[in-house]
């Protein structure tokens, strides 16, 4: 109830119209002398998945952290459902975050909570309108969705890396988000588990019509799940388009990146 009440008019408008859910405008970010993001701009509408690719240390994860509001940009803006995550009030940022699901690179599960408690964490804090049994049912439904039914009482340390990612994904979906952010969803996983995660993301995309950004090194994964690919180098997006557009590109860096991975 609270999550619904907190939804701003802007969010409702975006959900009903075809406005971009995520707008990144000329974002720059430096750490000391090193500029990791240099004028990054793009937009994502509902139903779209943008894969952000690039070499290590090119600021891909920093971009996600700026989108969630965990770090402010030096300049530019990240607008999520109309909320500027760097300048909005705490209440507006919280309301925007309730519309976002974020899968961290290493899942970032709460190690003192069980799998079910991890998935139910956002519900416990934001859906006080649900009874205990309704919350449990929702957790069971989410675990079923990511293929982890029956693992409710396990601790995060007792499950594999792939399963942890699935739990993280279930937690990210708990509040029925409009925006889904995935940081290296297949990193550190074997090809079969990576494939399963890709299929899961595709299925969730289809069912929930999310606006998603996937940060990855994995070109195969990007090709499978993304509607658009943004390739970053030295803090800038060097090319943005479909996988076919990237394949047709004459840029040396682009062809190096694609052909090394495929």
């Amino acid at each position: 109830m609270q999550a619904i009440q907190d939804s701003t008019q802007a969010e409702k408008n975006i959900a009903e119209t075809n406005e971009p859910a995520i707008v990144i405008e000329d974002v720059t970010k430096s750490f000391g002398e090193q500029r990791v993001l240099d004028g990054v701009s793009f937009q994502v509408k509902r139903g779209e998945t943008v894969a952000v690719l690039g070499r290590s240390g090119t600021g891909k994860s920093v971009l996600l952290r700026i989108i969630v509001g965990l770090q402010p940009p030096d300049s530019g803006a990240a607008l999520i459902l109309g909320t500027n995550m760097a300048t909005a009030s705490s209440a507006d940022i919280a309301a925007a975050r309730k519309q976002m699901g974020f899968l961290f690179q290493h899942a970032a599960l709460y190690d003192s909570l069980t799998v079910a408690e991890n998935v139910g964490f956002p519900l416990t804090h934001h859906r006080q309108d649900l009874s205990e049994s309704q919350r449990r049912d929702r957790v069971t439904e989410l675990l079923h969705e990511v293929g982890l039914e029956g693992h409710d009482d396990k601790m995060p340390s007792d499950i594999s890396g792939g399963m942890q990612k699935r739990v993280g994904l279930a937690r990210a979906l708990a509040l029925d988000p409009v925006v889904l952010l995935l940081d290296e969803p297949t990193a550190g996983l074997d090809p079969i588990s990576s494939g399963e995660i890709d299929e899961l993301v595709l299925k969730l995309q289809k069912e929930h019509q999310l606006a998603s950004i996937v940060v990855t090194h994995d070109m195969i994964s990007a090709k499978t799940i993304a509607t658009r690919i943004a390739l970053m180098d030295k803090g800038k997006i060097v090319i943005e388009g479909s996988f076919d557009d990237l394949q047709k590109s004459d840029e040396r860096f682009v062809s190096q990146f694609i052909h090394r991975d495929l």
Binding site: V68, A95, H125
Partner: protein, 266 residues
């Protein structure tokens, strides 16, 4: 008057520890303000507070009781020796009761809890920080300062006086046991003699000054934990600095609070 970069750099390096210390206090001030704001803003994390009260308070009782008992025994043995020398043996129960309740028990409880709880909170929050669990809480639109820091700090503030009472009880009891083993005295007489002429003003301020110790331990440990950087080394460093700094500040606070109590309750 501006300082040129060529001059500013050596000055900065020379005064680096001072700058770092001032930065630390500045960041601590901001953290305290954010936690205070989180504490008074609904929704309140009652379940987590109760869990922390159990973790910080109930689970510290055995250690605090043992420390309190040791103080009682040591004081009984040491004070007897001194008082007998000066022909004031009859004052032994009062010496034990006053020493235990007004000073020894609060400061020992503060230091024992800063060791056990300070290290625990510092390491736990640091581990959560370096594994992005705190970021995950924030990304879930839950304020980690409210959920993790405010609950722990409040639990420390509430638990410390209660633990001090437990330490005082064990200290007085074991003081009597140690005294009666050397020279038999009934517990009733020991208590009557020990508390003769004493009022609440003698015991309440020293007990409740431990609320300040609790605030210091909780705040320093949460702050150090939540600003941890790096991997295992960062976690270890946060745990160590939590204990060292909270113990140091508890001792400094004791010096100030003793003076304040003497001024307010002469």
């Amino acid at each position: 008057m501006s300082t040129t970069p060529a001059v500013a750099e050596p000055i900065r390096i020379r005064f680096n520890p001072i700058v770092a210390m001032l930065e630390w206090f500045g960041e601590l001030g901001i953290f305290v303000w954010q936690v205070l704001r989180a504490m008074v803003t609904p929704p309140f994390q009652v379940a987590e507070f109760v869990r922390q009260l159990d973790e910080i308070g109930a689970k510290s009782i055995p250690l605090v009781a043992l420390a309190g008992s040791a103080i009682g025994v040591v004081l009984a043995l040491e004070a007897r020796y001194s008082l007998v020398r000066f022909g004031a043996k009859a004052l032994l129960p009062s010496a034990i009761v006053f020493s235990v309740v007004t000073e020894m028990s609060p400061i020992v409880t503060g230091l024992v809890v800063s060791g056990r709880v300070g290290a625990g909170i510092g390491a736990e929050l640091a581990a959560m920080k370096v594994t992005e669990q705190i970021d995950a809480i924030e990304a879930s639109a839950v304020d980690p300062r409210k959920l993790l820091a405010a609950t722990r700090i409040l639990a420390c503030i509430v638990a410390l006086p209660l633990l001090t009472l437990a330490a005082s009880f064990c200290g007085v009891l074991m003081g009597w046991v140690a005294s009666t083993l050397v020279e038999p005295i009934s517990l009733q007489r020991f208590i009557e003699t020990g508390f003769r002429g004493a009022g609440f003003k003698d015991f309440l301020p020293p007990t409740f000054k431990t609320c300040v110790y609790g605030m210091i331990i909780g705040t320093v440990a949460c702050f150090q934990g939540m600003r941890a950087k790096g991997g295992a080394e960062g976690v270890g460093s946060s745990a160590t600095t939590s204990v060292v700094l909270s113990s140091l500040f508890v001792i400094l606070a004791d010096v100030i609070l003793v003076k304040v109590i003497l001024l307010l309750f002469p």
